[in-house]
Symmetry: D2
Subunit: 118 residues, 4 copies
């Protein structure tokens, strides 16, 4: 990461936010993982009765709260990774490499089957 | 964002990954929001029977799969934001501003109550 | 409830199962609520890439694991209600009454909007 | 099941509720599984910042909304099982038998490890 990195900036800002409010006592990874799961479900709630097609073309009115829920998920994910000492971007890069091996292009093209069923 | 931005790089890489495999047909926001929720729960599973204290000091053996699940959450979050045309970092910055107004330092110090109960 | 009630029987059986294994020490409502959420997500996983239509006509091979996940959700829900001293069937009856007031037939027919938007 | 069975009664009542409102068109199993997951997370939200000990002794004020969320989870679970033609109580009984084999008393007493790690 470098000084211009958005994830690093957000991490520092969110840690400061929690410290100013004396919230790190509540931010046990167990609790943050729960909060993250709750936010992911609040995001899902906006899509639960929509068809797939409709979910691809949200109106501006539908998109605004979805954007806020997406932000909440990222915020808790950054806090959780920070409390666990995990470099979020590097973890994603490593996982993409693993996925590339699990899902070789020629075997997985056009199919969403789990790698264990390929 | 600029060229060195980790989130922007990951977004492009993940879009390419999906396109190579012809997976964008499956990546309706409704489906990605489900997948994100599923990954968040798989992350939570590692903490469900742990005490809060134990969750703060994971062993290396416990941390490794947690790091992978965290990566999976970020990966689906980036894909979802990309399909919806949302700038993830900017959405988080905007939400932090909202949160700073909802949770003023003096009112929320040491208390994790919802802003509606402050 | 009476002696032939399935929910009451399952509740007693599951409490015995936990006690025999000395598991009630782990069954704090906080932990059971996490486990319930994790099982609900494992159930959702089976549907995440399916279209709505396909989800209405699962093959026998698809249905079998779905049935097991549904059972897991019920099992944790019964355990959680038991630890909290909640009568599950009565709670559902009470909630159906609330929902009937929130969603009057004439206003909500054919529309899945939240009652706050009716 | 027999005539006095609570689960069977609730199933019939909830199917009628959906039919009166012409909601079965929205009740694809994919959508119901999402809604179930969302309700399970709303339940979890009440516990996310609580310690385990506090979660074992909820106040009456804390318990009331938890009871409603638990009811919501059961309601969607019953609807989902009904749409899939699954007998909920029998599915749970079958799963308890499977669990009894996976977690023999002597091996799992006092330990919450997954059966794959026993």
């Amino acid at each position: 990461m470098n000084d211009t990195d958005a994830l690093g900036e957000l991490r520092d800002q969110l840690r400061g936010f929690a410290e100013e409010r004396d919230w790190r006592q509540f931010h046990a990874p167990k609790n943050l993982a729960s909060a993250l799961s709750v936010e992911a479900a609040e995001l899902l709630e906006h899509f639960q009765w929509l068809g797939e097609g409709a979910s691809r073309c949200l109106t501006a009115k539908q998109l605004a709260p979805v954007r806020e829920e997406i932000a909440d998920v990222l915020i808790y994910l950054i806090r959780l990774a920070d409390e666990l000492g995990i470099d979020l971007a590097q973890a994603a890069r490593d996982k993409i490499e693993i996925n590339a091996r699990k899902y070789p292009v020629e075997k997985s093209r056009g199919s969403i089957r789990k790698y264990t069923d390929l």
